[in-house]
Amino acid sequence: MIKLIIKRLLVAIPTLIVIIAFVFILMRLAPGGPFTNERALPPEIEKNIQAAYNLDKSIPEQFLIYVSNITKGDFGPSFKYKDFTVNELILSGFPVSLTLGLSSIIVALFLGVFLGTVAGIKRNTYFDHIIMSVSLIGICVPSFVLAPILSLFFGLYLGLLPISGWNNGNILNLILPITALSLPQIAVISRMMRASTIETLNSNFIKTARSKGLSQKIIIRKHVLRESILPIIDYLAPASAGLMTGSIIIEQIFGLPGIGRYFVVGALQRDYTLVSGVMILYATLLIILILFSDILRAFLDPRVKLK
C-alpha cells in the first residue's frame, strides 16, 4: 500500500512540472501580452512594468523563477487584477467552488449508486425502465441547457428558488447549481452501477452466498455492493474532472464567484499567472483524487494488494 502511494506521488511530480511548463509556454506563445493596449505606453514605463513582473528576463529564467516561487506556495501577482495576488484570488474563489464541487460529487455518488443498484436488482421492471430513461435524459441534456431551463422554471415561473448569486452559501442558492452540475454525473454513475450490479449478481460467489441461505438484504449489502462499486471508484477521477470543467459554466450561469470564473476571465485577458495558477490547482486536485481512488480501491478489493 505504501509502495503504491509513493509510486503515485513520484509520477505526480513530473506530471505537475509538465503541466506548468505546458501552460507557461503556451501563454508565452500567444500573440499579445497582458500589457498590450490600444495606446502604446511610453517605453520607460513599459520597461518598468516588464521589470516588475520579470518579463524582461529570458524565458528559461522566467520559468525557473516561476517554478521556484510555486514551490514556496506563491503563484505571483495577477497581471490584470492589479491589486491582487493570484493566491488572494484563488483563496477568495476556492471555498465557493469547493462547496459546489464537493456537494455535487457527494450527491452524484449517493444517488447514482443507490438508483443504479436498485435498477440492477429490479432489472426489466417498470422501476428500472423509469430510472434508465431519466438517466438517458441526464446524459443527453448538457448542463448548459439544463441550467437555464431549471432557473427559468423554478426561479422565474414558480419563484421557488433564487436564480443567481452566492449569498454566503445559503442552501437555497445552491440547490439549482448542484442539481445542474450533478445530474449528468448521476446519470452516468447509475448506468455504470446498474451494469456492474447485474454482472455481480450473475457471478458464482453470489450463488454460493444464496445457497448458504443468506438473506437478500445481507447479500446485497455485504457482497454485491462491495464488488459492483469498484468501477465507480475508478470513475471518481474522470467524474471530478467533468465536474471541474462543468463548474466553469455553472458558476457563470448562476453568477457564483468561484475560481471557474476567474479561469475564463483570466484566459480571455491573457492573465498568465492567474490562468496557470488555477490550472495547477485543478491538476493538483485531480492528482490527489486519483491517488485517493487508488487507495480506496486497494482497500475494497484485496486482489489489488497482491500486485
Binding site: C140, P142, V145, L152, A237, Y282
Partner: protein, 303 residues
C-alpha cells in the same frame, strides 16, 4: 440419407442450393441484431431526418441564416409569416439558423472524432503491437495525460491561437484520443497472439503491413461503436466552448452558440432556448441509442 445413392439430378439440385445459401458473416449478423433494436432504429431515423433537414432544409426556406430584419425582432413562432420557430434579437429566422448550426455542429462532431480516432488508433496499435518497454512508456504518457483537465487545455489553446474553426477540430480531436488509444491497445494485445498474425509474420510481412492489413480491420467493431459514442461527446464539447464564447464566431452559428444566446434571452423569448436545445438533445439521444445498439449488436453479451 446417403449422398451417393441419390440420383444425379437431385445431387446437382442439392449442391446448387447449398452454393446459393450465403454464409452469415459477423457483419450481417450484427446488422440483423441492430435492426431488431427498436431504440437504435428510432435513433437512426431521427438522426437521418435531422441530417437531411440540416443539409437541404435551408434551400426550401425563404430566409437566409444571416439575413437581419429590424421589423421582426424577437418574434414568437408564427406559422403565417414563415418564421416557424420565431426570430432572434436581430430579426434573423431561428429555424434557418438552427439548421445551419446543425451543419456546423455535426461537421465538427464528425471531423474532430475522426482526428481523434486516427491518433488513437495509430498510438494504440503501435503501443500494443510493439509491447515491452515502448508500450510501458507510451501508456504511462497516456496515464499522465488522463490526469489533466482536458477542457481547460482546449480553452487555453483556443485563447492562445485565436478562434479558428480548423483549430477547434484539431484541439478537440487531440484531447479526445486517450480512451480510443487504450481500447485499441487492449484489443491489439489480444489480437497479436492469434494464429493469423503469426502466419503473416512467418511469411515475412513487415510490421507496418501487419498492423494496417490485419490488426486494424479486426478492430473495426470497437472503433465504430466508439465513434458513435464520441460524436455526441464532441458536439457537447464544441457547444461548451461556444457557450463560453470561445467557439464559432458570428454570423456563423452552431447549436452551442444558439443555446448560449437563447439562455441569455430566455426570460423574454423562450423559443430561442427551447428549439435549439431540443434539436441538440434529440441528436445526442439518437447517437447514444445508435451507439448502444451497435455495441450490443457487435458484442452480444447479454445484459
Amino acid at each position: 440419407m446417403n449422398f451417393d445413392l441419390l440420383d444425379r439430378e437431385r445431387k446437382e439440385k442439392i449442391l446448387k442450393s447449398a452454393l446459393s445459401v450465403r454464409g452469415r458473416s459477423l457483419w450481417s449478423d450484427a446488422r440483423r441484431r441492430l435492426f431488431k433494436n427498436k431504440a437504435a432504429v428510432t435513433g437512426l431515423i431521427i438522426l437521418s431526418i435531422i441530417l437531411l433537414f440540416s443539409l437541404f432544409g435551408p434551400l426550401f426556406l425563404q430566409y437566409k441564416f444571416d439575413q437581419t430584419n429590424w421589423d421582426a425582432i424577437y418574434q414568437a413562432p408564427n406559422l403565417q409569416n414563415g418564421h416557424y420557430f420565431g426570430t432572434d434579437g436581430n430579426g434573423r429566422d431561428l429555424l434557418v439558423r438552427i439548421l445551419y448550426g446543425g451543419r456546423l455542429s455535426l461537421t465538427i462532431g464528425v471531423i474532430a472524432t475522426l482526428v481523434s480516432v486516427f491518433i488513437g488508433v495509430t498510438y494504440g496499435t503501435i503501443s500494443g503491437y510493439l509491447g515491452g518497454k515502448i508500450d510501458i512508456v507510451m501508456m504511462r504518457i497516456v496515464e499522465i495525460l488522463y490526469a489533466m483537465p482536458y477542457l481547460i487545455f482546449v480553452i487555453i489553446l483556443m485563447v492562445v491561437f485565436g478562434r479558428n474553426i480548423y483549430l477547434l477540430f484539431i484541439a478537440i480531436g487531440a484531447v479526445e484520443w486517450l480512451t480510443m488509444a487504450r481500447i485499441v491497445r487492449g484489443q491489439t494485445i489480444s489480437l497479436k497472439e492469434k494464429e493469423f498474425i503469426e502466419t503473416s509474420k512467418a511469411l515475412g510481412q513487415s510490421t507496418f503491413l501487419i498492423i494496417v492489413k490485419h490488426i486494424i480491420p479486426n478492430l473495426a467493431g470497437p472503433i465504430i461503436v466508439y465513434i458513435t459514442l464520441m460524436v455526441p461527446a464532441v458536439i457537447i464539447l464544441e457547444s461548451f466552448l461556444s457557450f463560453l464564447g470561445l467557439g464559432v464566431q458570428e454570423p456563423l452559428t452552431s447549436w452551442g452558440v444558439l443555446i448560449s444566446e437563447g439562455s441569455r434571452d430566455m426570460e423574454t423569448a423562450w423559443w430561442l432556448l427551447i428549439f435549439p436545445g431540443t434539436f441538440m438533445v434529440l441528436t445526442l439521444a439518437s447517437l447514444n441509442f445508435i451507439g448502444d445498439g451497435l455495441r450490443d449488436a457487435l458484442d452480444p453479451k447479454e445484459y
